[in-house]
């Protein structure tokens, strides 16, 4: 990667969450490999702040804008404005279906919920013989569509099992100690909780702390969380966490890099199967433009050390190449 092909802006919704922080470094790494500079703007989970950032960035005329929207669809007008100004927009991690964009690379939050449901099914069966029992679902902020989608996916699949009772409580603003309090209270109110499903690994950390304080040992209560952050993997190694539903951060980022040339030069992206860091991924033409879907994976004690998981903080050594 000799001379720079230009600057790309990444609008990240927040940095208070390890997945997002990870995405910044991953995107930066891969884009560099295909010859792009990347600058990042943090919206602090404020939709209106992100809109201002879009307006300002448009004034800077970058090669492209990578947008991880604070709210999936609220940025529609800004996206339209950017593309009207001739700046291609890539949706990263958070899908925008309301308006066309030049490329979309997401794991699919609803799908994460589905995978989680499959795992929960297996865990409960293993523990109670059949799929029944109590699940405490610790959501993120109830105003955040990201957590709501996971909940949607999880619950629509769990509907199949009537004798599974799900208690859902929100950890306001994704704050860890809120999750801790919820677990501490629920474990007393419903001592028969079989599984705790937190929508982010850092919430599981606080949950574990509360369990510990309540005198529980690893394994007494099953835990599961989503997004595959390093903390989650550590908890698996310690035996506290049974499953971590990983979001393929590296692959998602790599995909963006692979197609950046095409996006920047406004060439069309062909549907079909692509190999992204060894993960088989599908590009489809959707109403909102070319869309690559990369399957998420379930991390358990068995495969926890697989370096492909971004949670292991081992960026892939093989460099990505632009798709010709």
């Amino acid at each position: 990667f000799a001379q720079s092909k230009g600057t790309v802006y990444y609008l990240v919704p927040t940095l208070l969450d390890e997945f997002q922080t990870g995405s910044v470094s991953a995107l930066e790494l891969f884009l560099k490999q295909v010859g792009y500079e990347m600058k990042t703007l943090n919206a602090d989970n404020k939709t209106d702040a992100q809109q201002s950032q879009m307006n300002d960035v448009i004034a800077l005329k970058p090669k492209a804008i990578i947008l991880a929207a604070v709210d999936f669809n609220a940025l529609k007008p800004s996206v339209e404005a950017a593309r009207a100004a001739g700046i291609p927009v890539v949706e990263f991690d958070r899908q925008i279906t309301a308006t066309p964009s030049d490329f979309t690379s997401v794991a699919g939050t609803v799908e994460i919920g589905h995978i989680a449901a499959d795992q929960a099914e297996a865990l409960l069966k293993a523990k109670n013989g059949s799929v029944k029992g109590k699940i405490l679902q610790v959501l993120g902020d109830p105003g955040d569509p990201y957590t709501l989608d996971i909940q949607k996916g999880f619950e629509e699949k769990m509907k199949a099992f009537p004798d599974v009772k799900i208690i859902s409580l929100p950890a306001m603003q994704w704050e860890a100690s809120n999750a801790g309090t919820i677990v501490a209270d629920q474990i007393l109110a419903n001592p028969d909780i079989d599984l705790i499903f937190s929508h982010a690994a850092h919430l599981s950390v606080a949950a574990v702390a509360s369990l510990e304080a309540a005198g529980k040992r690893p394994g007494d209560v099953m835990l599961m969380s989503s997004n595959g952050a390093p903390v989650g993997l550590d908890l698996i190694r310690k035996g506290w966490l049974n499953v971590e539903v990983e979001q393929p951060l590296y692959a998602q980022a790599a995909a963006v890099a692979m197609f950046m040339d095409k996006v920047a030069n406004k060439q069309e992206i062909k549907p079909g199967d692509y190999d992204v860091l060894g993960l088989k991924s599908v590009v489809t033409k959707e109403a909102w433009g070319p869309n690559i879907k990369i399957p998420g994976a379930a991390i358990t004690k068995a495969n926890v050390d697989n370096p492909a998981f971004w949670g292991n903080q081992k960026p892939p050594t093989d460099t990505v190449k632009s798709v010709e």
Partner: protein, 331 residues
């Protein structure tokens, strides 16, 4: 020193925040690439319109010696109300009115009404039950935002009816109409505060409530009006927010409250009440907006931005500290 120089100096001090604004803009224009262009200045004003309108209402109650923490949530609720009714996708119901332009007054009325209602609730509890405005409006801040979650189910509405969106797109002298609305609000309320008995009474109530009460001013009535105004104006801010977003999200406007307070205080309004003017507040709003834009353009590592932001706000305020020292000199 000669009376004239003294006089002009007093003038500068009284409007220091405006000079700060000019100063800051100059500095940014010099040191930040791409900052100095009309588009950016337009952005600064455009981005400040919601915050600006909201700050007006907040400033009014603070000058009257109280405060209203609920404005942020109220704006969000109004935005959500408008969004749900007049958005065509997401959780929007896509309500249609004919002729189209009818949607403008209707949506506006709804937004303002929502705000006014909550303002009445706040005002009543605070004035009649003599509760601390802080705690009452803090509660509102929480439950009103909660209400937004309830009505929206945490989901969002998009595609606001074009007739309403028009205000956000149509430009006049380079600025979208929403910005002009904010400016108009500042002009109107500045006049009300400075030139009408009502405004005068608010200031005096903020200065010495007992005195005004003894003088036969209907303090309670004035205060309730102030809270209703704050709510209604917040509603208007919400309407603008909805236009800007072309819809509404459950956590829309989160964080505006702190900026509004910062703007009001930087603008020279005393939280003890009785002191402050609205033009100053607008300068404060623009100052904060300028800082935000500057940070967006500086392109520094994302996790440093917040520190920078805080320190810049601090710097802006510190400039204000000179005021005191210079005044000392004068005296």
């Amino acid at each position: 020193m000669s009376p004239r120089t003294r006089h002009s100096l007093e003038l500068v001090l009284d409007n220091l925040v405006w000079f700060m604004l000019v100063f800051v803009l100059a500095v940014f224009s010099i040191f930040i690439p791409n900052f100095f262009q009309l588009g950016i200045f337009a952005n600064i004003i455009e981005a400040s319109s919601v915050l600006g309108v909201m700050s007006i209402g907040l400033a009014l109650v603070i000058i009257a010696g109280h405060m209203d923490l609920s404005v942020e949530s109220v704006a969000a609720l109004s935005a959500m109300a408008v969004g749900i009714m007049f958005c065509s996708s997401g959780i929007g119901l896509g309500l249609q009115l004919h002729p189209d332009w009818l949607m403008v007054p209707v949506s506006l009325a709804i937004a303002v009404a929502v705000g006014a209602v909550i303002g009445v609730a706040n005002g009543f509890l605070i004035v009649r039950l003599q509760m601390s405005a802080f705690i009452i409006t803090l509660a509102s801040y929480i439950w009103v935002r909660g209400l937004v979650l309830v009505v929206s189910g945490g989901r969002s509405a998009q595609d606001l009816a074009p007739a309403i969106r028009w205000f956000g797109i149509q430009r006049l002298a380079g600025l979208p109409l929403t910005a002009w609305i904010a400016v108009a609000c500042f002009v109107v309320f500045s006049l009300i505060l400075a030139k009408t008995p009502f405004g005068r009474h608010l200031v005096m109530i903020g200065g010495n409530e007992t005195a005004t009460f003894r003088a036969g001013i209907r303090v309670n009535r004035n205060l309730i009006i102030a809270f209703v105004l704050a709510g209604a104006i917040a509603g208007l801010a919400g309407w603008l927010l909805a236009i800007r977003t072309s819809g509404a999200t459950a956590n829309l406007g989160v964080g505006l409250l702190f900026n509004a307070f910062a703007a009001v205080v930087i603008g020279g309004v005393s939280l003890k009440g009785g002191v402050g003017t609205l033009p100053g507040v607008y300068a404060g709003v623009l100052l904060l907006s300028a800082i935000n834009t500057a940070i967006n353009l500086m392109g520094l590592p994302a996790n440093f931005t917040q520190v920078i932001h805080g320190l810049l706000v601090l710097a802006a305020v510190l400039l204000d500290a000179f005021k005191q020292t210079i005044r000392q000199r004068l005296a």
